[in-house]
């Protein structure tokens, strides 16, 4: 599930992301194997869906969130002072800024359409992720959302 997210990324980051993903998948498989919870079982059986969400979360935390976090300062400098930003001798051009923002907005839009907020992807704890998905699904089923 993670492989498509890793295309073009440097090796150190690929190894970091892959390590996190594989560790979580192993724990998920273990959880699925041992769980007797009637409540959780139907969701743990759909392991692939949880893996998709885990892969998205890892990509968000390692790539999207840090790269788009500087947008606030760029926006402040542009809108209030008509200034650009140069970091370590390299200009953060409008093209870079807008391309990253476009990516962030599309990610946010499609994730929200499935009830997943940025704050959800910021969670790295497997238990919290799975329980968050289960609660969301239960609310959906009961018609709360």
């Amino acid at each position: 599930m993670l492989a498509p997210f890793l295309v073009g990324l440097p090796r150190y980051l690929v190894e970091l992301m892959q390590g996190e993903y594989e560790y979580k998948c192993r724990r998920l498989a273990h959880w699925k194997e041992r769980s007797r919870s009637v409540r959780l079982r139907p969701y743990l059986e759909r392991e692939v869906v949880i893996q998709q969400v885990l892969a998205l979360g890892i990509y968000y935390r390692h790539v999207i969130a840090p790269l788009t976090s500087a947008g606030n300062l760029v926006h402040r400098l542009r809108s209030e002072h008509e200034l650009g930003l140069q970091v370590a001798g390299k200009t953060v051009t409008d093209e870079i800024y807008f391309s990253l923002e476009a990516g962030r907005i599309q990610f946010q839009r499609f994730a929200r359409a499935f009830g997943l907020e940025d704050s959800f992807f910021a969670i790295s704890d497997l238990n919290q992720v799975v329980m968050g998905l289960v609660r969301m699904e239960e609310r959906r089923t009961s018609g709360d959302i």
Binding site: L67, S69, L73, G84, S99, L100, A122, S124, R140
Partner: protein, 252 residues
């Protein structure tokens, strides 16, 4: 939020959306990925600036490049402060008159204990015009100015870590506080207005119960702020709602 789609029930659509997103944006993110740490550092710098702004200060960028009209952010402490931009925070008080501070980044600060020891927190709030230079054969063979600020001119400082938190990572921050602001260790720090954000550690990763406990303990002992999970809760340092939970220190 209202949504009818579910990653479980509409999984084919979910996967299609992921594929579409990656096709359109993956290459842009991949091209810029070497900047993740620096961009996160910049985001936290902006949080600190916003703290002063929300506290009623007027913040203006200083020392910007007039030719290219750019704010120059240096990532290395070896960059000369005279070549870097910073924000000047100013506020006029009825009782205290004009108060001004420079919000700088990667500035070398002299230890409060030993004049030969220097360290560079990611951000430092210092008194205006307090950057000094010395020439010493031990630094750059005495050929280049060694710029620094004395600890007595430091009002507060902050560090950023783009990592998952660990007890060691958080507790190591106390070493910097001890070196730069020992008055916080023995609780003799000034309480005078205006108040600054206590020395702060910005951490990208979310913490667990134990990290939260360390955070609370350090805040009560040394007036330190530890901000965890900044991707989930960006506004911790500056939101009006969270001001009551922050450790603040006086101006000295």
């Amino acid at each position: 939020m209202a949504t009818s789609r579910s990653p479980f029930r509409d999984n084919v659509l979910f996967q299609r959306e992921i594929d579409t997103f990656l096709t359109r944006h993956r290459s842009v993110f991949a091209q810029q990925v070497s900047r993740t740490s620096s961009f996160f550092e910049i985001a936290c710098y902006n949080d600190l600036v916003r703290y002063y702004e929300n506290a009623g200060f007027t913040v203006t960028p200083q020392n910007t490049s007039p030719r290219s009209r750019q704010f120059i952010y240096a990532l290395s402490p070896s960059a000369k402060p005279s070549n870097c931009s910073y924000f000047l925070a100013q506020r006029t008080y009825a009782a205290h008159g004009l108060k001004a501070f420079e919000i700088r980044h990667n500035l070398r600060v002299q230890s409060a204990h030993d004049q030969g020891v220097f360290l560079s927190p990611d951000y430092a709030v210092v008194n205006p015009g307090s950057v000094e230079s010395l020439r010493d054969v031990n630094y750059y063979n005495g050929k280049v100015d060694y710029d620094f600020v004395r600890a007595t001119n430091l009002q507060t400082f902050a560090e950023t870590k783009h990592y998952p938190p660990s007890p060691e990572l958080i507790l190591n921050f106390v070493g910097l506080v001890n070196e730069l602001m020992p008055s916080l260790m023995n609780q003799t720090h000034s309480g005078a207005s205006p108040k600054h954000l206590g020395p702060s550690l910005f951490v990208s990763g979310t913490g667990n119960h134990h990290h939260e406990r360390i955070r609370t303990s350090l805040a009560s002992r040394y007036s330190i702020n530890v901000f965890l999970g900044l991707f989930a809760r960006r506004s911790q340092a500056y939101s009006a709602k969270n001001q009551g939970n922050l450790s603040k220190i006086g101006t000295r």
